[in-house]
Symmetry: C2
Subunit: 366 residues, 2 copies
């Protein structure tokens, strides 16, 4: 099979996979095609957790015709029973002669096992076609499985001189309406939870809801870091759609408030803290155990900085508004980095709004 | 004359004027066309100070054919003797029947006078066609004439979090080579002088020369704000092409150093100062009197901030590099602005480099 055809068929798998974007978690997005005589004879993709896997669907769609075909799939076929039977069994049974895969199963328990079983059954195996694009597509799943933590995105709106608010703390609004629309419909609508610090709640009283655009799943969970339970019972985050989680310090003695909040349906998670700060990676593991696969961190500066300093943020969106503000509300006020080892924003994208520029990309730490 | 034709002919004037970009100061860029039967019959533009004015050239090129024509010019014709005789006389003599102008002469002594004289001689006069574009073209000249100060451009390169250097003061290099090429060939090459503070000289030892691209005139003058004459006699700014001006405090007692510097060809300007800071508008008037019509301010943060706080900067270029740095070297550390009254960057332009984004525009103060 010439390389160009491998690319063509794997691209089709990625396109099929992407059809279920935001709907498959905690499962990955997977697409699969069966090829005979250089032509696609059937297609399949994983629609949501519990639905058939992509390969199983493609094989099923081909019926007896699968015999002698080449199967393309962007993730190594599973070799164990989950909610559905193992795909390697279906592949072997179908008489498929070759399997082309983009990336191996990231789960260390399964990594490469499915391919080995196929090989042992005389099926030709090729791995690594469009690996980079396939990793990018499933970056959330890959982080989830390998680190047992949510994929973390930071979102900030600041002035050209890196301020989140003016010297008086006012931040409504640094960016324009178009930028906020984008923020709701493209960023907030693609996360399982939105996290802010208690100072942001006290200062801005945000709703942390998705008010523009269409939600792919339910409204994100609202997570507030509030070590000493300062949150007001009338806060916007306690109203409206979406569950609320408040992370407080183990040392917090305000049991009555914790109880009142719990009665209002708020989940209180008590964690060890140091001068009001939590260990970010421990926090992320707890949030992951709560079914939060994608976490959006919106601020303020101290919270953003603690995620950067912990090297725990994967992606950043910075809306830079056409203004200079000054003052103490810095977008990053952490311990700082040497110019020879900065936190880099790679695979950067730029989007131009009327009154701001959005710079976004993967965060890369040395 | 339909409005669309007025726009067409005035656009041609602006295009002609722009041919001498960077070469006319302290004069404006001016272009002129003569029109008969809706067709351009002659053209002219001002090539440099001392050369004929645009109108004079267009009339001269038309010869006797100027009679009965309409003259378009982007600036009100002069009515007094300068290095060349007044253009209004030439217009009256030529038998031109109508004059269309974009903007009046900004000099309060001449403002509207030329048009009045033409009117008094029975010549039809129209003013204001493409006024905005004509003002933009001659923004340097307009500021020079009305405020007797140079047009001031700020240029900074910073991280996404608004830092000019890392916490250790290292700033080489925040931006990439392409951005620095642009900076030399498009920004430094279009100024009469480059100004920095003494801390930048001591820390970075810059040459402040134009090393990429072609100079339109001579190498810019190097201006250093150095209230107590801390500059080293081996500094890069004392070498290479271009004159050096050092602005020191009147109170500075180091006469010997001042003399040594003067012997090396440095011009020392002594000004009143307050805690090492100068009154920026007084400084600008002095620099203007030295023939500096365009001033580029390159930093560091305190110098940039003092120009912003004095509302004395007209334009800004911010190169925002794809990194987060932290630390104390803020791009703006001045007194700050309310979000309701920020320093706005208007008519913003965005240019995307590999490792940075250049945001530039006019600074607008409330």
């Amino acid at each position: 099979m010439p390389e160009s055809l491998d690319l063509k068929f794997m691209s089709e798998c990625l396109n099929l996979a992407r059809k279920a974007e935001g709907k498959t978690l905690p499962n990955p997005m997977v697409g699969s095609v069966l090829v005979k005589n250089n032509k696609i004879i059937s297609r399949g993709y994983h629609k949501k957790s519990g639905s058939p896997h992509a390969e199983a669907e493609a094989i099923n769609n081909a019926g007896r015709n699968a015999k002698g075909a080449i199967l393309y799939v962007n993730l190594e076929p599973c070799s164990s029973y989950g909610k559905t039977p193992p795909c390697v069994d279906a592949i072997i049974r179908s008489g498929i002669k070759k399997v082309v895969v983009a990336v191996k199963d990231p789960n260390p328990k399964h990594n490469g096992r499915g391919l080995k079983i196929l090989s042992r059954h005389g099926i030709e195996v090729k791995c690594g076609v469009m690996k980079e694009q396939a990793c990018e597509l499933n970056k959330v799943f890959l982080k989830n499985v390998t680190e047992k933590m949510p994929y973390v995105t930071l979102k900030v709106a600041c002035s050209l001189d890196g301020r989140l608010a003016d010297f008086g703390g006012e931040s409504k609004w640094i960016t324009d309406h178009d930028a906020r629309m984008f923020s709701h419909s493209r960023i907030r609508s693609n996360t399982d939870a939105i996290l802010v610090g208690i100072n942001t709640v006290l200062k801005d009283d945000p709703l942390l809801s998705v008010r523009y655009g269409r939600l792919k799943t339910s409204n994100p969970i609202k997570v507030v870091l509030d070590s000493s339970l300062k949150v007001s019972l009338n806060s916007g985050i306690l109203k409206g759609p979406g569950r609320t989680i408040i992370v407080s310090s183990e040392k917090c003695s305000n049991r009555a408030k914790a109880k009142t909040l719990a009665n209002k349906g708020v989940k209180i998670i008590a964690l060890p803290s140091k001068s009001g700060f939590f260990n970010i990676k421990d926090l992320l593991k707890i949030l992951y155990s709560q079914g939060i696969y994608r976490l959006l961190v919106e601020g303020g500066g101290s919270v953003i900085s603690s995620f950067i300093d912990a090297k725990a943020a994967d992606y950043i969106y910075i809306f830079t508004a056409n203004m200079i503000l000054g003052g103490d509300y810095l977008v990053y006020n952490g311990r700082g980095f040497r110019l020879s080892k900065p936190v880099k924003v790679i695979n950067r994208e730029v989007k131009i709004f009327k009154n701001s520029v959005l710079i976004s990309g993967d965060l890369s730490y040395v």
